[in-house]
C-alpha cells in the first residue's frame, strides 16, 4: 500500500471525509450474549462493521493430534459472510481468513489461561456480517467479550484497534477509503489493564514518530472500547437489568 497521490482523504479543514477528527473513532456498540446456543457470544458494531463471535467449550480436542497434554488449544475460525461487502465473497476459507484466524488464535492464547484445561479445545467462531475496514480488530474485540461471557478464565480482555496514515497524517481507526487509498495501517491487540500488546501487524511504512503517535491513538481507543466491553457484560448480568 504505497498510497494513491490523487485521492484526497483529508478535507481542507483538517477533518476526514466522514467528518471525524484525526484521533476520533467510528461509533462502537457491543452486546454480549446474543446467541442462545453458544456457551458465550457477542456482537460488536464498529462503524459499518458488524462482527458476531461465538465461543464453545472447553471441550475434548478433536482430532486427537491437535491435543496438547499441558494446555488447551484455541481453535479460531474467522469468516466473512458472502454478503458482508459489495462484491460477493466466495464462501469458505481463503488465504486471508486463514491468516486472520491464526493471528487471532495466537493473540487470544496469550490472554486465556490455557493451562487450566489440558487436552481440551476452546472453539471461537468469528463471523463478519458487514465489513468496512478493520474487521480483524472488530473480530478480536467480539471474541474477547464472547470468551468472557462463556466464563473462560483470562488475564485480561484483549481489545482490537487500528491506526494508520493518510496523506502523511496519522489517524485513528481507518475507514474503507482510508484503508484502500491510505499509506499505512497498524492493527493492534491491546490488553488495556496492563498495557501489553498481544498482536501487532503493520501494512505500509511509518516513521518511529508516526508509529509512536499511532500507538498513542490506539491505546486511547483501546481504553474507550474496553469500557464498552465491560459495560456490555455488566448490562447482560447486572441484577434486575435483564
Amino acid at each position: 500500500m504505497g498510497g494513491y497521490g490523487d485521492v484526497k482523504l483529508l478535507r481542507d479543514d483538517g477533518k476526514r471525509l466522514d467528518g471525524r477528527t484525526v484521533d476520533e473513532m467510528r461509533p462502537v456498540s457491543i452486546e454480549a450474549g446474543v446467541l442462545p446456543a453458544a456457551d458465550g457470544s457477542a456482537m460488536v458494531t464498529h462503524g459499518l462493521n458488524v462482527a458476531v463471535a461465538a465461543v464453545y467449550g472447553p471441550m475434548e480436542a478433536h482430532p486427537r493430534k491437535i491435543q496438547r497434554q499441558d494446555r488447551a488449544v484455541i481453535d479460531v475460525r474467522y469468516n466473512m459472510a458472502p454478503f458482508s461487502t459489495g462484491d460477493r465473497i466466495r464462501p469458505g476459507f481463503n488465504r486471508r481468513s486463514r491468516e486472520i484466524s491464526k493471528v487471532t488464535a495466537e493473540a487470544l492464547e496469550s490472554v486465556v489461561l490455557v493451562e487450566r484445561y489440558p487436552r481440551s479445545k476452546i472453539r471461537v467462531e468469528i463471523e463478519i456480517l458487514a465489513a468496512e475496514a478493520g474487521t480483524r480488530c472488530v473480530g478480536i474485540t467480539a471474541a474477547a467479550v464472547a470468551l468472557a461471557d462463556a466464563g473462560i478464565p483470562m488475564r485480561d480482555m484483549i481489545v482490537g484497534v487500528a491506526s494508520g496514515k493518510i496523506e502523511d497524517t496519522v489517524v485513528l481507526d481507518l475507514d474503507k477509503a482510508e484503508d484502500n487509498y491510505g499509506q499505512a495501517d497498524l492493527p493492534v491487540g491491546i490488553l488495556p489493564n496492563t498495557g501489553e500488546i498481544a498482536f501487532l501487524q503493520m501494512d505500509g511504512d511509518l516513521s518511529i514518530e508516526e508509529f509512536n503517535l499511532a500507538m498513542e491513538y490506539n491505546f486511547k481507543a483501546a481504553s474507550e472500547i474496553h469500557e464498552l466491553m465491560v459495560d456490555a457484560l455488566k448490562r447482560r448480568y447486572e441484577r434486575g437489568d435483564n
Binding site: G57, E60, Y117, A148, G151, P153, M157, L191, P192, M229
Partner: protein, 228 residues
Amino acid sequence: MSEGQSGAEQRLVTPGMVIGPSTGKHAGSGAIAQNEEFIATRLGWLNEQNDVVSVRPINSAYMPRSGDLIVGVVAEVRNNLWFFDVNGPFQALLPMSLAPWKVEFGSTRQHLGIGDAALARVQEVDEAHNMVLTMKGIGLRRLNEGCVIPIPVNLIDTLRGENNTMVSRIRDLTDCRIIVADNGRVWVHGDADNMFTARGLIQTLVDEGHMNNFEDAVHALEQQRGEN
C-alpha cells in the same frame, strides 16, 4: 443464594479487572495475584471470605472432582466398559468392575445401552481429565424413569440452598423425587403435573438465576399452593 440476600452490594467483575491490593490475602478461584494486586480472571461476582478473594463465575463448564455425584448418559459401549457423557469437556469411563451388577465380558449392553441415563459417582480424575466413574454405592443406579433437566453449573448451589433446604422445599411443593447432581443435571420424577411444575421452577432458575429471585418464585408458589 445466601450471600446474595445478605443485603451487601455485590460487585460484578470482568476478566482483567483489578479487584484490590493483595497484601495479607490469598487469591481464590477466579482471581490471580499480579504486581501486589488481585486481578479477576472470570466474569462473575466478587466474593471475599476469610482473607480469600475469589470470583463466583456466572458461567462455567463442569470440571469433575472425585466424589462428585453425577447424572451421566451413556455415549459409547465396549465389551468391558461404558463411556458416559457427563456434561464436561471429556467423557468418563465406567469399567464393568465398578458397575452395580455382575457383568460378564461382552454383556455390557444388556445392562446399559447408548442413551441410558445413570446416577454415578466420580471415582477418580487425573490432571489430564481422565475420569473413572463408579456405580457401587448407596442410591447409585440406572435412571429408568423421570426426566433430566440441564442447569448451569454455577446455579447448582442456588437450587440446593443451604443444607439442601431449597431443594427440599421444591420436593415438598411438587411431590417429586429430585436429585441435583454436581454436573449440572437435575433428575426429576413424579406424576406428570408435578413434574411440569418442578420443571417450570427449575426453568425459572435457569432463565433468571443471575437476578437472585429464585427464592421469591418458590415462595410465591408455596403461597399459591397454601391458598388452594
